[in-house]
């Protein structure tokens, strides 16, 4: 049976304006679920308390039976990246949580709980073994600061660790879902975005459509995989595996409304304490994806963590693309017809 998919809401002519981008107050109801559908759920990942233990990654792998792979997604390979403690490398078909490790070396006015080099804090012991900073260390500090980690014992430089557990954002306007030609990707009753593995034909369209680089094709399998927000556990009234495993409550799971309120409070508290750079990412419902179901409290610019600074759902521009496609097609028909007009040969 063929049906016009519910993902084409923009073209059903209802509720103009926010079908392809912009805030959607009830994303689940909007996709056709009855009024008594569950509340939209999500994650609030507060990176300011993450300790980088990777319990979330492990719990996710275990629960979802994800194969081992290296940082490039090669299945059954073990690889070290040399990028701090991050050997997972990226979100992908086999890693649905990814803990990013960022080491920043900067002057000591850093706002976060920081760890100085041994002895530097009390100033007693000269620093013989200065901290090795990865040559590519990403930081929003100036280049001069980055490239000159302290060689002195003056204690005026410290290392700041940024750790952040990344995950699928379960976007309000999910590009992966919009472009999926088979209807394999769908919006669940919880407002999350899930792949139906028995339908996916591995066309790969969702992979470059995602503005965050989340979803990926599994080598040797051909289909795509990503975080389901533990759809199976949710239907049984359980929390997602990562959230249950996180020892610091860096990963908080719950109704999106409640999480947003809690995140706003947390941000205000941090700002009051003078933590500069603290910001919410994916919280804003007017952003390019209509707000994310999984959002973050970050301590630096998003790109430092490997997140896009201003992601926009690609289908926002689809009406313009279809117009251009239509005009191009008409041009082809018209010009070819003109080549036949009024000539003998």
């Amino acid at each position: 049976m063929t049906a016009i998919s519910s993902a084409s809401a923009a073209f059903r002519g209802q509720d103009r304006g926010n079908r392809l981008f912009g805030p959607v107050p009830d994303v689940t109801g909007d996709r056709g679920y009855a009024d008594d559908h569950p509340a939209r759920v999500g994650f609030f990942t507060d990176t300011s308390v993450c300790i980088g233990c990777k319990a979330c990654e492990v719990a996710c792998k275990e629960w979802n039976l994800l194969p081992m792979d290296d940082a490039e997604g090669t299945v059954d390979a073990l690889g070290l990246t040399g990028a701090s403690y991050d050997n997972t490398g990226m979100l992908g078909a086999n890693s649905w949580r990814h803990v990013a490790f960022v080491e920043q070396s900067r002057a000591v006015d850093l706002p976060m709980p920081t760890v100085g080099p041994p002895g530097a804090a009390d100033g007693q012991r000269p620093l013989e073994d200065p901290p090795v900073v990865h040559p590519q260390v990403p930081a929003s500090a100036t280049t001069a600061e980055q490239s000159a980690p302290s060689q002195t014992a003056s204690g005026d430089r410290e290392i700041r660790w940024l750790m952040s557990s990344d995950v699928c954002k379960h976007c309000t306007h999910a590009a992966c879902l919009d472009v999926c030609p088979t209807g394999s990707l769908f919006r669940t009753e919880f407002g999350t975005v899930v792949v139906q593995e028995d339908i996916c034909n591995g066309c790969g369209y969702c992979v470059p459509a995602c503005p965050y680089g989340v979803i990926d094709q599994r080598q040797d399998d051909g289909r795509v995989f990503k975080c389901t927000l533990c759809y199976d556990r949710l239907t049984d009234g359980l929390q997602p595996a990562c959230a249950s495993a996180c020892p610091t409550e860096s990963i908080q799971f719950g109704d999106l409304d409640a999480l947003q309120a809690r995140a706003d409070q947390r941000l205000a508290a941090l700002q009051e304490k003078g933590v500069e750079g603290a910001r919410l990412y994916g919280r804003d419902e007017t952003d390019g994806v209509g707000g994310a179901g999984a959002f973050f409290l970050l301590l630096d610019e998003p790109e430092v963590y490997g997140l896009p600074p201003d992601p926009v759902v690609t289908t926002r521009d689809l009406p313009a693309m279809w117009r251009s496609v239509g005009a191009g097609a008409a041009m082809v028909l018209g010009l070819i017809a003109s080549a036949f007009v009024g000539r003998r040969r």
Partner: protein, 311 residues
């Protein structure tokens, strides 16, 4: 402008996932679909204007191109046996879904038309299927541009208005070129004109893609994509020039048609490569977004300052 922005990344890793689409499968799928689309239109009009040789060549090109295009598309799937899942739903938000619904009937109609030519039978049916294929031929040449542009790949997405025009021109150059090369001179006039117009459109629109989008136009001019597109330009321009002689000499027609087809193929490979390059380097994702974010922050703080003064 984006140049001012300081660029940071996470260990130089890409932000978005580069497409998993394989080459040469996907660029050839783009080329063959385009050439088949414009040939189908040529074929139907040739049939209607009593140019049997041109009609035959164009319809055979359309049928062969469409079938090969479908084959490459299926081969590129991670699960080829599930190809028919493409026709489970029709989604206007997915160019691949819409495209499948164009490609499936188009390839059926063009194959039927080509088959009728080969059998030399069913002339009425042939006219009917040929006309149907011609209607779908227009969209066949351009939907693949939306397929590329409707992604987060910076160099494809930003060029979303021009790419359909590039692909339309490229398809006309290829279809016109192939039929020019294979049709007797006295019937090939329309094919030559289509080829020349297509080449001009392809060159002009591609110039805008290569220069009109600041940083994200860069991948079209550098590296492997830059070389491919430069060669494409040379082939297309020479082929277009030769169409002037193609009315007098069968050799000139063959060379001109071949050059135009090669130019079209290389354009598809070049566009594909440029997108891949822009996806793999986080700079092309971060810098334009960073500049946009800075601009909207600045606008917001200006607005806030304005409203404070106002109250």
């Amino acid at each position: 402008m984006v140049d001012e922005v300081e660029f940071t990344s996470y260990y130089g890793r890409p932000i978005i996932k580069p497409p998993v689409w394989k080459t040469p499968d996907v660029p050839l799928y783009l080329f063959l679909g385009g050439a088949a689309g414009s040939s189908a239109v040529l074929g139907a009009l040739a049939e209607g204007t009593r140019r049997p040789a041109l009609a035959r060549v164009a319809h055979l090109t359309a049928g062969g191109g469409a079938l090969a295009s479908v084959a490459f598309l299926i081969h590129d799937l991670g699960r080829p046996s599930r190809f028919l899942n493409m026709l489970r739903v029709l989604k206007t938000t997915s160019p691949l879904s819409v495209g499948s619904w164009i490609l499936a009937p188009f390839s059926a109609l063009t194959t039927a038309t080509a088959g009728a030519h080969l059998l030399g039978r069913f002339p009425l049916l042939r006219r009917f299927t040929g006309a149907g294929a011609a209607v779908l031929g227009g969209p066949m040449t351009t939907y693949t541009a939306a397929l590329l542009a409707d992604t987060a790949v910076p160099s494809w997405h930003e060029a979303h208005r021009e790419l359909p025009v590039v692909f339309a021109g490229s398809a006309m150059a290829a279809g016109g070129g192939i039929t020019t090369a294979l049709t007797p001179l006295d019937e090939a006039g329309p094919a030559r004109r289509v080829a020349a117009m297509g080449a001009a459109i392809e060159l002009a629109a591609m110039h805008r893609v290569e220069h009109g989008h600041g940083l994200v136009s860069e991948p079209y001019r550098t590296g492997r994509a830059g070389k491919l597109l430069k060669t494409a330009r040379a082939c297309t321009a020479t082929g277009a020039g030769l169409t002037l002689l193609a009315g007098r000499s069968r050799t000139a027609a063959a060379v001109s048609g071949a050059l135009l087809a090669v130019g079209s193929v290389l354009t598809r490979f070049g566009v594909f490569d440029a997108g891949m390059a822009s996806a793999k380097d986080p700079r092309y994702t971060v810098e334009p977004q960073r500049a946009r974010a800075r601009a909207s922050e600045a606008a917001a703080s200006r607005a806030a300052a304005g409203s404070r003064r106002g109250s």
